[in-house]
């Protein structure tokens, strides 16, 4: 942590170098963090990285969520809920080891477009999302891992502890469960009223979080 690159984006040398160990994170603050004013950021939620991070309206980030744009940008859509200890962003899982990504040219060989979470996505605790895109209304359950470059369709359900290899493509309304087995949720697909009910529950849930959790957004704006 002490060997930080002399990045121009950082403010000039901190005036109390001895207190560096006391800080929660010595990583550089994101230079371009776009938080909608209606976002609910809990205490200890963390943003790191130099690429842009965009967070849409009414999104809820629970404590100890980590969002990293060290390798590529992150876009979080409207009404996303990210639970405790979930990690979002390329390279945050530590599996892909994108050491060469910093060397400029290598960025184009991997997907350079970062991570996009659609509207109303739910990322449960301990999940790791490095995927390129997660479609609207998808639920990534506890401890699931989405590898780099995965594209997940709309209204999917990635069951707990499932691991998706990098560059997996999952069509809309798919449930991924057990050891990588897949099925299509026909009920959800054929009955739009269920989708509506789900969306309504999700909205109420976000309202509930806003009532119950203190907002720490001031730290990041």
């Amino acid at each position: 942590m002490s060997a930080q690159p002399p990045s121009s984006s950082r403010p000039s040398a901190s005036h109390r170098p001895t207190s560096l160990q006391k800080r929660t994170s010595a990583l550089p603050k994101p230079t371009s963090l776009f938080l909608d004013p209606t976002v609910l950021v809990a205490q200890h939620a963390q943003f790191t990285g130099t690429h842009p991070i965009t967070v849409g309206p009414n999104t809820v980030l629970h404590p100890h969520v980590k969002i990293s744009s060290v390798v590529a940008p992150v876009v979080i859509g409207e009404g996303v809920v990210v639970y405790e200890k979930a990690k979002i962003g390329v390279g945050i899982g530590g599996t892909s080891a994108p050491e060469s990504a910093g060397a400029g040219g290598a960025m184009e060989s991997t997907r350079g477009d970062g991570t996009v979470l659609g509207q109303g996505v739910v990322v449960e605790s301990n999940a790791v999302v490095e995927a390129a895109e997660v479609g609207e209304g998808t639920v990534v359950e506890v401890g699931a891992v989405l590898g780099v470059g995965c594209v997940i369709g709309k209204y999917c359900n990635i069951c707990p502890m499932t691991v998706l290899a990098p560059n997996t493509h999952i069509p809309d309304f798919t449930v991924v469960y057990g050891a990588g087995e897949k099925r299509t949720n026909l009920t959800l697909q054929s009955r739009p009223e269920i989708l509506q009910a789900k969306a309504m529950t999700h909205r109420k849930q976000i309202d509930m979080f806003k009532r119950l959790m203190p907002n720490n957004i001031a730290k990041w704006t």
């Binding site: 200890k85 506890v142 069951c159 707990p160 057990g178 050891a179």
Partner: protein
């Protein structure tokens, strides 16, 4: 729950010990402490997330007229919550409203490392292996053993004396006679790394050895 913050000039150890003998790690992440009850001699290890802030908002018609603080998480005596576990009360829609429901954990329950628990009730003498996920509104009765890496689906009811495992969880056996018995040594060895407790048994020795 007596507030650990009220103590002054405590010796800097890994754990803060409350008056009733609860040991709460300084590195645990607890929100909404007012809504959490610990029964006594309970251990909360480092990096454990207790979501006490997600409590029930239902208006309780109380006879005394005073507002009672709703309990979000209640944990019994001699229960051990290992590192990295997340304990979050479950919620559901009831009469068109979102409601959180209190999560109850009994006595002598061992929760292994990196579990995520959203059950409605866990009874006493339950052993939960590492990396287990317990879905919302699951109910776990007495003397149950949950194997490692199990995913207990939402609303599952596990009857007393079962052994469950797999993804999703299925009953794979019974704990049988002698569950939780043993460890009658009783000579508080303490410290030697010696296992003087059994799964599902009395965890008092284990709690005592954690410092």
């Amino acid at each position: 729950m007596s507030r650990p913050t009220a103590r002054k000039a405590a010796p800097k150890g890994e754990y803060i010990e409350t008056d009733s003998g609860n040991k709460v790690s300084r590195r645990s992440a607890i929100t909404g402490t007012a809504n959490i009850t610990l029964g006594g001699r309970t251990v909360i290890m480092a990096e454990v997330q207790l979501r006490g802030d997600l409590h029930s908002t239902r208006v309780v018609p109380s006879s005394t007229g005073k507002d009672v603080t709703p309990t979000a998480i209640s944990i019994g005596r001699c229960t051990v919550i290992s590192t990295g576990s997340v304990i979050r009360p479950p919620y559901r829609i009831s009469r068109g409203q979102i409601h959180y429901y209190p999560l109850k954990i009994g006595d002598n329950v061992f929760v292994g490392p990196n579990c995520t628990i959203s059950a409605i009730q866990i009874a006493s003498h339950v052993h939960i292996g590492a990396n287990t996920v317990i879905g919302p509104f699951a109910m776990i009765k007495e003397n149950v053993k949950i194997l490692e890496n199990t995913v207990v689906p939402a609303n599952m009811i596990i009857t007393a004396g079962s052994v469950v495992g797999g993804r999703p969880a299925r009953v794979v056996g019974e704990v049988g006679e002698g569950w939780g018995v043993g460890s009658t040594g009783g000579v508080g060895v303490g410290g030697g790394g010696e296992k003087n407790w059994v799964e599902g048994g009395d965890l008092r020795e284990l709690v005592r050895s954690i410092k």
